[in-house]
Symmetry: C2
Subunit: 837 residues, 2 copies
């Protein structure tokens, strides 16, 4: 008992230690304002009665005490027997029926679901949190606390919740050395130097965040799996992580390597039909389950992007999946086979080739061949987490196979947490998209992936989370909303984006209406904004797809085997995926859907260039031409981010200083990057199409002075690759060991001006910059930001705005650059505009 009570107290500490760093995310339990606190203090009974010793129920109890103490400054009594006093009672229905039948809910509650009820018995008022199982008790407790935090009434509770999806899991792409593939919030919370980290308290705190959303499983290593994960020496490491997550009812899964029978097992083959391989997987599963009896199962990426798979030994995906699934079966383990299988060496010259077809082509004929504990894990779109894709046709195809949808929470193609992109609206478009898979009934993706359409026993949601050791988990305070939104959708995909983001904002930043409105608006429009400047009309994210997936590189997708082609050339743009004249991808959908995508006329503008190749002058449904839409959307996107910055500034003093400053810095950075994207994409398409911007903006930048046209001392002109990454296609670089200057003449009217310096901040050096106006030094900084680029390109393109300078005609503006290591103090341009602030 003492140990348990200690735990309650220890759990109170982090909220103090990590106050307003973002560490506690949406579980801050910040004190309510006086009026609200008084209201809830009257409504919350002073006693918590806990009817169950299961770990998740004990966690629920601790959370109740923590939440009520945090929000209401009240520590309720914890008891284990129902007396006549008003109390919050938590337990399973069975436990409540036994201890206090008068408080038990009528009817049944589904697995993991819960009911919240206010019950009056013998003159006392009870809040009863009841569930079918211990996890449900925990989820009901979080739901109860959430109500208080967002300001909902708890006076007369009478509600029941059932999770929409049985599988609500998280994937991590963490490598055992502690790095994370596509992780933008720091190093791994699980691994360090090939072992579980010494201190796994972060993992437990993460488990709490997951549990608060109803997430009940978590794979803990990269799908590009290190075979060592299955070695006997490594099992205790997995067991330690499982132990850290167990209090929160989050099961551990591991990603495995299909070649393990050979690499780990010492066999000569990994042929799934070979008896020795079958025995290997069986023994391996038995061994792991001895160490981690509640392991959730395995995840496998095979025959994809260089990963070994069944094709190497002439077997099918079903052969591969079933052998491992059968080994897991006796232990109740599930097996997730990633549908992300494609050929990355396709011939781009063949216009019939199409990576988007791959999942369907690989798995359609295997439908019905998979064991019942196998799940095909299908990404939302047919390519790879691009800024906009249609729903994968495979969702509507598999009728006799379990499936789950894989959504990417980590923002790989979505600005890598340096841009704010709230993904829930995007996910909802896919989840709500009706695949017309069964006549006469609605068959949205959410129903298909949870097995409802074809009466499968299971299915669900998996999100690629990739949190890291940074206090904010994601390296961007606003990015936490994506994990929150994923969890809420997995629980209930019928929630609206607005409901979700407002709930998240209230929990994370408080109930100030101005704060809620402002943040919700930024989040809700952020996806469209990002799409506007990175890849509108179904172009996909026009990023460096063979590099860091961060900066702009319009042609990086072309003329290689990776198949993310948009096929833009001098005549037109887009990929013809029609059945009639194109790759036939549109025909992979059920006829009613195929009809939509088959023709230019029927295809929605947002996916036009994903489905069709059209001339730049093609008119959209709005009447605008494709090229003009590209130009306009990029200006609109950049302006939107600039507006986010100003909107955010109105929250000073309404949001704590630390997070205020962090988000402000992030949004300012994003505003600068949006301009890079705008100019690069528009510049590229202008060069290709030769069609000028009807509004005269593209290629015409008032107040801009190119560095390559400046009076240079030491600096050398560099042709940037890709050309669109630099204004005027050129930059200037300073050779190592020198101090270089670029001097510009100002000939405008005397007055107050802002000077924007566009320079390149690569991640393998810290150059120093100085700005002088006719000899007077007016600013100085170093290029020390963390950006994922080692090259002079759009990813490293950074800006410094020197505000409020008194300029006179004839002034010489001199930028001095001093290189450091790999950073060449490169400059793109300066812009001079009348002072804004």
């Amino acid at each position: 008992m003492r140990r348990v009570l200690c735990l309650i107290l220890l759990l109170l500490l982090p909220s103090v230690l990590h106050a307003e760093s973002g560490y506690d995310a949406w579980l801050r339990y910040a004190p309510l304002d006086d009026v609200s606190a008084r209201r809830y203090r009257d409504a919350v009974p002073p006693v918590v009665i806990v009817l169950g010793a299961e770990t998740p129920i004990q966690s629920a109890r601790d959370e109740l005490v923590r939440g009520i103490k945090g929000m209401l400054n009240r520590t309720p009594r914890v008891e284990s027997r129902v007396s006549g006093d008003a109390a919050i009672v938590i337990g399973t229905v069975t436990q409540i029926r036994q201890a206090a039948p008068q408080l038990a809910p009528a009817g049944s509650i589904e697995t993991d679901g819960f009911s919240l009820r206010t019950v009056r018995a013998n003159g006392a008022r009870f809040v009863v949190i009841a569930a079918q199982n211990d996890l449900g008790v925990l989820y009901g407790t979080f739901a109860f606390l959430r109500k208080i935090a967002v300001g909902e009434s708890i006076a007369d509770l009478d509600q029941k919740e059932t999770p929409y999806s049985p599988i609500r899991w998280i994937n991590h792409w963490d490598n055992l050395d502690g790095s994370i593939e596509r992780g933008y919030g720091g190093r791994s919370i699980f691994w360090e130097n090939g072992r579980a980290r010494q201190d796994l308290s972060r993992v437990t705190d993460y488990g709490r965040l997951l549990a608060s959303l109803g997430i009940n499983g978590c794979s803990i290593n990269n799908v590009n799996a290190d075979p060592r994960v299955l070695s006997p020496e490594f099992l205790p490491q997995i067991a330690r992580v499982a132990e850290a997550l167990r209090p929160w009812g989050v099961k551990v899964l591991i990603s495995v390597d299909f070649g393990s029978p050979r690499t780990i097992g010492g066999l000569t083959t990994f042929d799934p039909l070979d008896p020795s391989v079958i025995a290997f997987w069986k023994n391996k599963a038995d061994e792991i389950y001895r160490a981690v009896p509640d392991l959730g199962g395995f995840v496998l990426k095979a025959d994809s992007e260089g990963r070994i798979g069944p094709s190497a030994v002439g077997r099918t995906h079903a052969d591969a999946a079933n052998v491992i699934a059968r080994a897991l079966k006796p232990h109740g383990g599930l097996f997730f086979y990633r549908g992300f299988v494609y050929d990355n060496r396709m011939d781009w010259r063949n216009l019939k080739n199409d990576r988007a077809r791959a999942a369907y082509d690989n798995f359609k004929d295997l439908d019905g061949k998979f064991d019942d504990n196998v799940f095909i894990q299908i990404k939302n779109g047919p390519i790879d987490f691009q800024v906009r894709e249609p729903a994968s046709p495979l969702f509507g195809t598999l009728e006799k196979t379990n499936q789950i949808i894989e959504l990417q929470i980590t923002q790989e193609y979505m600005g890598q947490a340096r841009h704010t992109v709230f993904l829930v609206p995007m996910w909802k478009e896919v989840l709500d998209f009706d695949m017309k898979a069964r006549p006469g009934v609605s068959t949205p993706v959410k129903a298909l992936v949870t097995g409802k359409t074809f009466n499968r026993s299971s299915g669900g949601f998996v999100g690629v989370s990739n949190v890291g050791l940074e206090e904010s988990w994601y390296g961007n305070q606003l990015s936490q909303a994506n994990l929150y939104g994923f969890g809420r959708l997995a629980w209930n995909p019928d929630l609206s984006s607005k409901q979700i983001v407002e709930e998240w904002t209230r929990l994370t930043f408080g109930n100030d209406p101005k704060v809620v409105e402002t943040i919700a608006n930024v989040q809700l429009t952020s996806w469209r904004t990002y799409e506007n400047y990175t890849g509108p009309l179904g172009l996909q994210t026009l990023t460096d797809i063979v590099g860091n997936h961060f900066g702009v590189a319009v042609e990086a997708s072309e003329r290689n085997g990776w198949g993310q082609w948009h096929r833009a050339d001098e005549q037109g743009v887009g990929m013809d995926r029609s059945a009639a004249t194109g790759t036939g991808f549109a025909g992979q959908y059920r006829p009613e859907v195929a009809k939509i995508y088959e023709t230019v006329e029927n295809t929605p503008d947002d996916l036009l260039l994903f489905m069709h190749h059209v001339p730049y002058t093609q008119k959209l449904k709005s009447g605008k031409t494709v090229i003009q839409y590209i130009y306009d959307s990029h200006y609109e996107g950049a302006e939107s981010v600039e507006k986010y910055v100003n909107d955010w500034k109105s929250l000073r003093g309404r949001v704590d200083d630390r997070r205020y400053e962090e988000v402000l810095a992030q949004l300012k950075y994003q505003a600068g990057q949006a301009i890079v994207w705008r100019d690069a994409v528009n510049g590229w398409f202008y060069k290709a199409s030769k069609i000028p911007d009807a509004r005269g903006r593209v290629g015409n930048y008032p107040g801009r002075f190119e560095a390559e046209a400046a009076s240079l001392t030491g600096y050398r002109v560099l042709s940037v690759t890709p050309f669109e990454a630099a204004s005027g296609e050129k930059a200037v670089e300073c050779p190592a060991g020198n101090t270089c200057t670029a001097a510009f003449k100002f000939n405008g009217q005397a007055g107050w001006y802002d000077i924007t310096v566009r320079y390149f901040d690569v991640n393998n050096g810290i150059a120093r910059y100085r700005v002088r106006v006719s000899g007077q030094m007016v600013d100085e900084w170093t290029g020390a930001d963390r950006v994922p680029s080692r090259r002079v390109d759009s990813g490293s393109s950074a800006r410094r705005i020197v505000e409020g300078l008194a300029l006179r005609p004839g002034d010489e503006i001199q930028i001095e650059g001093i290189p450091n290591e790999g950073e060449t103090a490169a400059l793109d341009y300066i812009e001079i505009h009348p002072a804004v602030n």
Copy 2:
């Protein structure tokens, strides 16, 4: 030129690095709100013309650029020639007359003074900051920037300022090892391990703060001086500090040891009339001035508190002072001889003995015997920086001797920066007190100490500052106001306390009217509040005067030779200092003043017990008895601090988070300490007088349960010394190596309660505490606060409030204590009250 321009930029950095830590104090130059910024941008010309190469003028230039950039987001052009364009012109009158006679002010400006004028010439608008000398240019620049920061109009400037006092200096009691005697803001900014610190940038930043107030000198080592300060090896250390302060026009002074001719000079005597001693001081002065040509002079504490002095060799203070002063004279150095000379081994049984007489008795007969570069440095009161003292009679006595007033900025007897006490109102009472020293004219202390009354050529103010390495300089954000107030008074003692504190608040926390009003109110009432609970009616600070000068110890002043007697006994209280029946101290004042203090009837209540011994039943002018006033004022004081806490809470979001939290924690601590003082002082006087509190509070504490009366396991009862430091005169202690518990029975009504645990947090250990309610752990903490006590006494008395607990009749409340090193997890009592928040 480049070096100079770099300097401008470097000066821009600290405000970013130390944002809202308190480091930049009142020189934050925080951005103004948009409306104000727009107004000032129109009024501030875009060019700064600097007419002078002197270091302080260069500093003024950098400060102008920094301030305008910070507040208005504008970087003006810096030029050195007047053109036709609108500009801010800074320079001495001579420089301006030469460069632009049309801009020069008419008439003369006094030394260190300045004029601020708006001048229109040839159609352009100039802001002209002119001064007689370079320091005045710097001071005028700070005054100009201050106007912008506090929101004063700068549209049509036409003002002239002259400092009231020529000497506006600071003393530091820093030891060469880096410790500070009576320093509460961390270790020395000057010294470390017997040398100047490697990094003296803090000293330069401190110089900037001083210069902004017009402070022009600073002694840099303890008046209890280490003789080594005069050794040849040490001179370079002094020179380094002088160099760090020089950009801000702050001269360095050093404190010397009168025994130096023997200890450093190798002589057999330090007799000031001995030729070898005379030669020693002359040579030493010559040597120092070679290293530091602009040294301000020396400070000497002699014949006081164990310091060696002229009495040891049968010489007078004048003999001692003049020999050193003459050595300094050729270099323009000044010599400060501290008037703080008294016998600390006085016989307390002799009712005629009186330490308060000492300064007068020592120096009166020497009036006229001191050289003209000698200043007698006189503390504001006749004792030693107590919470209330009358003005020292010596101020009104010396007619032919230079004097300066010594004020203590560091809060030695004023809560040591753990209590907020704004000292300006106290200083002003002394400065404005008319000593009636010359018939027919007003002779307030401020006039006397600046030489105005008796036509001395000089005089002024010195403040004991003792800032430290903590980012806030004083360890309490609100304590900075005392340094600010000292500087402002030294410049202009006619400023009101309200003017000063509002100005400081605007500069330090911004112009939000609610912030200004709230903070100004706390500050302006804080001295009376502190007096109310630590020593009303002229009792002096009832602290542990033989110990840490922090906690309460009513009798610590009695029955010893230190002479801070209040002579409270069973019959009455106060020290009879009348000429008629007492020590004769009152007679040291000029007759008109002496008449006031001579009788009980004429003496103001606030000084009654300083001047007279009266029965407890003596009626005050208000009609209240002395004893009831003591009781009431202590309750009032404690309630005021509690109100400060609540007032401060209303500033959340209006003040930056960091300083908000720091001040909140400080005020909460002070509120707890005020209760200790209240109960201790009242308890002592109740025990002595046996007269009950008319309002029934003293000795009667509803909801309080003494630890010594609890059910103890392991804990042992301890009689606390002094008895009043613990409630019920007793505490309980846990022997090392044990875990102890004190258990209390709750028998009130069921409901929500707050439990206050009063424990002892000494500074030589970190004990752990836990609170359980009927077995449930509800709180846990460690005694890790920094307080200046190693003993179980009122200084270490701390409180923890466990808020919002659900209690029921019959509950056992158990406090568990685990000692650590010297900390015995000692408990005084608990209090149980209905929950407040």
